[in-house]
């Protein structure tokens, strides 16, 4: 649970829902971005995701390091399962 999953912002959904479409370990999911919005979020940005919420904005290099880290720790499958497990939301 301590390890966060990196994801890349595909599109910010709208200002009110505080969410974005994010590509996370190969799947696209809607992720809550309330906690990183003050840092300014745009498509292409990378974020660290924890239990469906983006917790911090990170550099791309850091995102790749974190993905590698999850793999080596044997957590990549769990991360994939977690990301796929986030409920898909009907289009707004």
């Amino acid at each position: 649970m301590c390890l966060a999953i990196p994801g890349q912002i595909v599109s910010v959904v709208d200002g009110l829902s505080h969410s974005a479409m994010v590509e996370v370990v190969g799947v696209r999911r809607r992720v809550d971005i309330s906690l990183v919005e003050p840092e300014g979020i745009a498509p292409g940005d990378w974020v660290l995701i924890h239990v469906g919420f983006a917790m911090s904005k990170i550099r791309e290099e850091e995102a790749f390091d974190q993905l590698r880290m999850l793999t080596v720790l044997g957590e990549a499958e769990a991360a994939s399962l977690e990301a796929s497990g986030y409920f898909e939301e009907e289009s707004p």
Partner: protein, 376 residues
């Protein structure tokens, strides 16, 4: 999606390990506690202990949310699941943790409606999708997870959702560190500070550890190089007779933390006067509960729970292991009655639990060294 299974920096690892050997005073013994379970997992996975001189001992801390939850709380949560109108939702980590009458998964096998969710927001979606049922989210986690629960509750309140509640087991890391420092059977020289908890709380809350207790603390990333560099920073402080808070994980952890996350937590939660931790007993102001303004979402107020304190199976020594007094393999049940397949204690369930980490990696040292490409 596939990533390379190698670390790119074996020479940096070797150089940092060499630096540690150079800095460590051979005439003394160092006890360094890694607070976070994620670090424990990484330390065992990469065999980092074997890169350290013998007089540097790594002590595993209490930072595994599944591990520190006492059995009575699991029983209380599951007692609510006995109501057929209730959907019990929890993270996958919780599913195999034993309660007095079995784990959440075993309750599911006996007919309770137990669902795995990967986000508190998904528990709320379950409530929206099942208006005739009540969805109770069994919340666990340190400050990394608590803001997500808080935001979910803020949303539930804004939408006026009535069939959703949270059984709140969120705990806070600082009082646990204080309890460890106050414990007479513990002697810790310095701390490797938690990484992702600190993205939320920042580095300031640790200042008393340096100032009042005279212990260095270095907030650390999770890669082998991160952990080793943090140990270098600790040793440098100790060598110079200093004690301060340093941030090795600057690329992710801002000194001030995440203000939006702290605001959400303050809106929804207040401190409990005390809370029981497995193996550590009752620690004052160490956990969160829902504020009065969120009372209708508080499962503990909505449902009657037994609230009985349950002690761990006598033979299991989870408490001593959690406090770092015993190493996992020193527990009488380790690897015999208690294994990752048949866990007796929670430390054997979670991959961040020191027992599971020790069990899974300690006997595979040779493999680990091939992977990170370091010759010792």
């Amino acid at each position: 999606m596939k990533f390379t299974d190698e670390f790119r920096e074996p020479e940096v690892i070797a150089r940092t390990a060499e630096e540690i050997r150079r800095l460590a005073d051979p005439s003394r013994h160092y006890r360094l506690m890694e607070v976070c379970g994620g670090h424990t997992h990484a330390i065992y996975r990469f065999g980092l202990k074997d890169l350290l001189p013998e007089n540097i001992e790594l002590v595993h801390g209490p930072g595994c949310p599944v591990c520190v939850l006492p059995m009575g709380r699991i029983d209380d949560g599951l007692s609510i699941a006995a109501d057929t109108g209730v959907i019990f939702a929890a993270f996958g980590d919780m599913m195999r943790v034993p309660g007095t009458h079995g784990s959440p998964l075993e309750h599911k096998a006996r007919g309770a409606d137990v669902r795995i969710v990967y986000s508190p927001a998904d528990a709320l979606k379950l409530a929206r999708a099942n208006p005739d049922r009540h969805v109770m989210f069994f919340a666990i986690g340190f400050e990394t997870t608590a803001p997500s629960t808080a935001l979910t509750l803020m949303r539930a309140k804004a939408e006026g959702i009535r069939n959703f509640s949270v059984f709140c087991n969120h705990v806070t890391i600082i009082p646990a560190i204080r309890a460890i420092l106050d414990s007479p059977d513990m002697r810790i020289d310095a701390f490797i500070g938690p990484g992702h908890v600190s993205t939320v709380i920042g580095c300031r809350p640790y200042e008393w550890i340096a100032r009042n207790e005279g212990k260095p603390i270095v907030v650390s990333g999770f890669e082998p190089v991160d952990v080793l560099q943090s140990i270098v920073m600790i040793l440098q402080q100790m060598k110079q007779g200093e004690a301060k808070v340093e941030n090795q994980y600057k690329r992710v952890v801002p000194w001030e933390g995440n203000k939006a996350a702290l605001r959400a937590m303050a809106e929804v939660f207040e401190l409990r006067p005390y809370f029981e931790w497995r193996g550590m007993g009752f620690i004052s102001q160490s956990a969160l509960r829902l504020r009065e303004s969120y009372a209708t979402f508080d499962a503990e107020r909505r449902f009657n729970v037994p609230g009985i304190r349950v002690t761990d199976p006598k033979a299991a020594q989870c408490g001593e292991v959690l406090k770092g007094v015993l190493k996992p393999a020193q527990c009488k049940l380790f690897g015999k009655e208690c294994t990752p397949e048949q866990p007796v204690g929670a430390l054997m369930v979670s991959s961040e639990g020191s027992c599971a980490a020790y069990f899974n990696y300690e006997h595979r040292k040779s493999m680990v060294f091939t992977n990170i490409g370091v010759a010792v």
